[in-house]
């Protein structure tokens, strides 16, 4: 691999992306990204996905049966507990 980041191939850059991103580096400032439209687009897409994921999955109410099952199980456990009354 070439030691100069600005002369990296796309494959070399993308092979390092996971580690670079995971380490918190701002890849938009990476020399390769500055000169590569495809990798810039890839980075933009990944950013869009992360942003969109934050908006997903509104909290959902569990059905009432869940609590009924929990309550029943707690009663069963309380009855079998060593110090049950």
């Amino acid at each position: 691999m070439n030691g100069d980041p600005s002369k990296m191939s796309c494959a070399e850059f993308q092979a390092q992306m996971a580690e670079l991103i995971g380490s918190g580096e701002d890849l938009s400032a990476h020399p390769h990204v500055g000169g590569c439209e495809r990798c810039r687009a890839l980075l933009a897409d990944l950013t869009t996905i992360v942003e969109a994921a934050r908006q997903l999955f509104p909290s959902v109410e569990p059905p009432d049966e869940v609590w009924e099952h929990i309550e029943s199980a707690i009663k069963r456990e309380d009855k079998t507990a060593p110090n049950a009354g």
């Binding site: 993308q14 580690e19 309550e71």
Partner: protein
């Protein structure tokens, strides 16, 4: 880039928040009235720790949405999420007296629920892909597939339903790490600890999960673009 999240930034944690609904009425009540979570939690928690069943029901009402939603996101299946929510609250009932307040209760409960889900996934044989495999460029799904033409990028807009579907279709291990990091806000070191894998493995699997999502979304864009 003050507010613009990049893949390098974990989202603001949702798990540190408190109960999102007031503990009014029964555990199955649907009140959504806002109430300061810490105050509600503290009083209800103390009574629940002392064995007050009604207080435990109120605690359930306070946290059921968040825990059920977490389970649903992690497993992507309603029936399983219901079972896991049940198991998480049963474990909470067994362990609540051991909560000492070293962290926020909601954080502690969130971690407990994550562990319940992980235990279940392990029972089902979920194995995380090895670091070697994850780091190895794969012609089918590796970085090479990212060399798409610029006109097929997502162009900054993603259909919400399409993304939800793409996440649901991810292999379980990828979905788990994506949800834990990008949705729930866990750091790689926390994920590595929870999943008993290396930090490098967590980073690489998260990256591969995002690449898979990108491919799925681009595929859909291509299909929609066809005449």
């Amino acid at each position: 880039m003050a507010d613009a999240p990049t893949p390098t930034q974990a989202p603001q944690r949702t798990r540190a928040g408190g109960g999102e609904e007031a503990a009014q009425g029964t555990a199955t009540g649907r009140s959504t009235a806002a109430q300061p979570a810490s105050a509600a939690d503290a009083e209800v928690l103390a009574r629940a720790q002392a064995g007050d069943h009604q207080a435990f029901a109120q605690l359930y009402a306070l946290h059921k949405r968040r825990i059920y939603s977490l389970c649903l996101r992690m497993v992507g299946n309603v029936a399983e999420a219901e079972d896991l929510t049940q198991e998480a609250f049963l474990q909470l009932h067994r362990k609540i007296a051991t909560f000492r307040g070293d962290s926020a209760f909601s954080t502690w409960l969130h971690r407990l629920a994550v562990n319940v889900v992980l235990m279940q996934l392990r029972k089902k044989g979920l194995s995380l892909i090895s670091l070697d495999e994850a780091m190895e460029p794969n012609p089918e799904e590796g970085p090479g597939r990212s060399f798409g033409a610029p006109d097929l990028t997502l162009a900054g807009a993603i259909d919400r339903l399409a993304l939800e579907r793409a996440i649901a279709d991810l292999p379980a291990g990828y979905r788990l790490i994506f949800v834990l990091h990008d949705v729930e806000g866990f750091e790689h070191n926390e994920i590595a600890s929870m999943l008993d894998c290396s930090i490098g493995n967590s980073k690489s699997q998260l990256h591969k999960a995002r690449l898979k999502l990108r491919e799925a979304l681009r595929m859909q864009n291509r299909q929609e673009a066809r005449p």
